[in-house]
């Protein structure tokens, strides 16, 4: 049996990868510091409060990471208008027929683990598949919730106009109690997402063998040769990879 020929395709552009890893770092930092803020550990110290600022530092890191997370998200939204088709907002729009067909296909093959007699290579998504797209949409919605609730809790201690834009959230939801609760529960959704996301990346890399894991580092994925249009001039070194 012949090995299939694959072509190297730039799927995730540099800004997308940059966004992804900054997002990973800030979410990890925000989750860890968030847990610390929610339930701080006992500090064994005999120092005077004057000489300590540990909890203040934890909160500072949380707020700083939150700002990075926020602006990073804005960068990604911008890139969804100027980036390639795998980065475009259209790739996250779950209402086209093509998307839904792919959604059910992924549910059948990858989630319910059924096998097809005659697999169609076109069913394998070059970028992310429709189920993944939907999960990213949910995550984006969660990021918005975290932004609104987080800045709402933060606004009162800040003089800057940006957090001040969110002062209406707390009164609307019925006070800081509720806002804090939502902020905390939404964090857990980020954790659940991360677990499933990492598993599925490994799953696809293992079953499809086209560089799912490494694609978020180098940006390249490998696509079956028969799916790539013939180009007139082919670079020698790239053609038979």
């Amino acid at each position: 049996m012949e090995t299939k020929n694959f072509k190297r395709v730039m799927v995730w552009e540099l800004p997308v990868r940059f966004f992804h890893w900054v997002n990973v770092l800030t979410i990890i930092v925000l989750t860890l510091t968030g847990f610390l803020i929610a339930n701080p550990p006992a500090l064994q110290s005999s120092a005077e409060a004057t000489n300590l600022h540990s909890f203040g530092i934890v909160r500072f890191i949380h707020f700083a990471a939150a700002y990075i997370f926020f602006f990073n998200m804005i960068l990604r939204v911008y890139w969804s208008f100027v980036g390639n088709k795998y980065a475009s907002w259209r790739a996250f729009w779950p209402f086209s027929r093509k998307m839904w067909n792919n959604f059910w296909h992924v549910m059948k093959i990858d989630i319910m683990l059924l096998n097809e007699d005659h697999p169609d290579v076109k069913n394998i998504s070059v970028g992310h598949n429709s189920v993944a797209a939907l999960s990213y949409l949910v995550l984006f919605f969660m990021a918005i919730i975290q932004t609104f609730t987080g800045f709402a809790l933060y606004a009162d201690t800040s003089g800057w106009w940006l957090p001040q834009l969110f002062t209406w959230v707390s009164p609307l939801l019925g006070g800081d109690f509720v806002v804090r609760q939502i902020h905390h529960i939404a964090m857990w959704i980020f954790i659940f997402f991360s677990i499933v996301h990492i598993y599925l990346v490994f799953y696809h890399d293992w079953l499809e063998g086209r560089g799912e894991v490494s694609s978020m580092f180098g940006g390249y994925k490998f696509v079956r040769e028969d799916r790539v249009k013939k180009v007139i001039k082919v670079d020698e070194t790239e053609s038979k990879e």
Binding site: E2, A38, P40, A42, L52, L113, F177, I185, I191, L207
Partner: protein, 374 residues
């Protein structure tokens, strides 16, 4: 009761008539400026306003409540304050404090409402039960809702005293059997000042009511209709134990060494970080102390639904829809565990179901490995 006075005295005239001196009057004005959160240069303006403004009649209604607001008010900083505002000058009707009772009292109220239609200030203490036609709270044969709507119709402004009138407080806690309702949900077309707290600080109450009666307009309110001067900051942000919080020094139990040292009560469920009130700056009982200074965390009594956002002595909050004792972290940990287990099963199932495909690929890969030249 001064309802029947044909000519309305100014505040100053009333105060002097009651036997207070000019000096007492100036003291009173200074207190009021301080309570309203105004600078000292405003004292003259308050004095002038009180000298020239005819007194405003005040009707103080009591519905579903415990009278802790009135109790707090009559203990506000200086006796002259409560004395002047409540007893001698303005109060035309208050179940708890008036000397009159029965039909005469009700008649006096009706007269005030008629005579000063559109001028009097209506103070409301307590929530209004709407369940079962409002039968849970009836005064003089009328339901609370009926009395309130009647009194509100001719009011210039309404002050909602305490968490009951502002948010519903304890009696509105789930499942709220009497359908206790805060007043802003019943009357929409009148300016309403919400002064939440269980009770609100006496000095705050004095400051708010004096602002309205002396200046004839509402103090600056925030988005929830609370006076900004008193509800603009969290208890946490003005708390004297805040340095311990920033240092990460927390009391773990109420009887440990850290608690004795006066460390932050955050881990003991202090709701100061979520509660907007002036407790930490104005304090209670003539500035003697406030809950946190006395070693007990804030329970957030001036926040909406504080009773349902418990427990009071833990940082965690209950998650609605789950078992009684579960909090977000417990639910989260269990869900994460189930999720991880599910994924492990999926991983095994994937390798079994897709084995042909996988074996083929491995075989091809190994063949290629053998055929590598160079």
């Amino acid at each position: 009761m001064s309802t029947n006075n044909e000519k309305r005295d100014t505040y100053y005239q009333s105060i002097i008539k009651q036997g207070y001196s000019r000096r007492d009057f100036m003291k009173f004005s200074t207190y009021m400026a301080a309570f309203m959160g105004l600078e000292s240069s405003m004292v003259g303006q308050i004095a002038q306003s009180l000298e020239n403004t005819p007194r405003l009649p005040v009707i103080w209604e009591h519905y579903q409540e415990c009278t802790c607001c009135s109790e707090s008010f009559i203990r506000s900083n200086h006796p002259i304050v409560a004395d002047i505002i409540l007893d001698r000058i303005s109060l035309d009707y208050s179940l708890t404090l008036m000397a009159a009772s029965g039909h005469q009292a009700e008649a006096a109220k009706a007269e005030t409402m008629k005579k000063y239609h559109g001028e009097y200030i209506l103070c409301v203490e307590g929530s209004i039960p709407l369940g079962d036609d409002g039968n849970y709270c009836c005064i003089a044969g009328k339901s609370a809702k009926e009395t309130f709507l009647e009194a509100a119709a001719g009011a210039k402004a309404i002050i909602a005293w305490g968490s009951c009138a502002s948010n519903g407080c304890v009696q509105a806690a789930k499942p709220n059997p009497t359908e206790a309702t805060p007043i802003h949900k019943i009357v929409k077309n009148k300016p309403i000042i919400r002064v939440p707290g269980c009770p609100p600080i006496g000095e705050v109450m004095a400051g708010v009511i004096m602002h309205v009666v002396a200046f004839g307009r509402l103090p600056k309110l925030d988005r929830l209709g609370r006076p900004k001067a008193f509800y603009g900051k969290r208890v946490h942000d003005t708390c004297y134990r805040r340095p311990y919080y920033d240092a990460g020094l927390f009391a773990e139990t109420f009887d440990d060494e850290n608690s004795k040292k006066g460390y932050c009560l955050y881990k003991l469920g202090c709701k100061g970080p979520m509660t907007y009130n002036a407790c930490a700056s104005m304090k209670w009982n003539n500035g003697v102390s406030f809950p946190i200074q006395s070693g007990h965390g804030c329970i957030g009594c001036s926040e909406e639904d504080f009773w349902d956002n418990g427990p009071f002595y833990e940082r965690t909050t209950k998650v609605p829809g789950f078992a009684v004792e579960s909090n977000a972290d417990t639910v989260g940990k269990v869900a994460a565990g189930v999720l991880a287990g599910g994924l492990a099963v999926h991983a095994v199932a994937a390798n079994i179901s897709k084995r042909t495909e996988l074996m083929d690929r491995i075989k091809r890969g190994k063949t290629n490995e053998k055929n590598i030249d160079s």
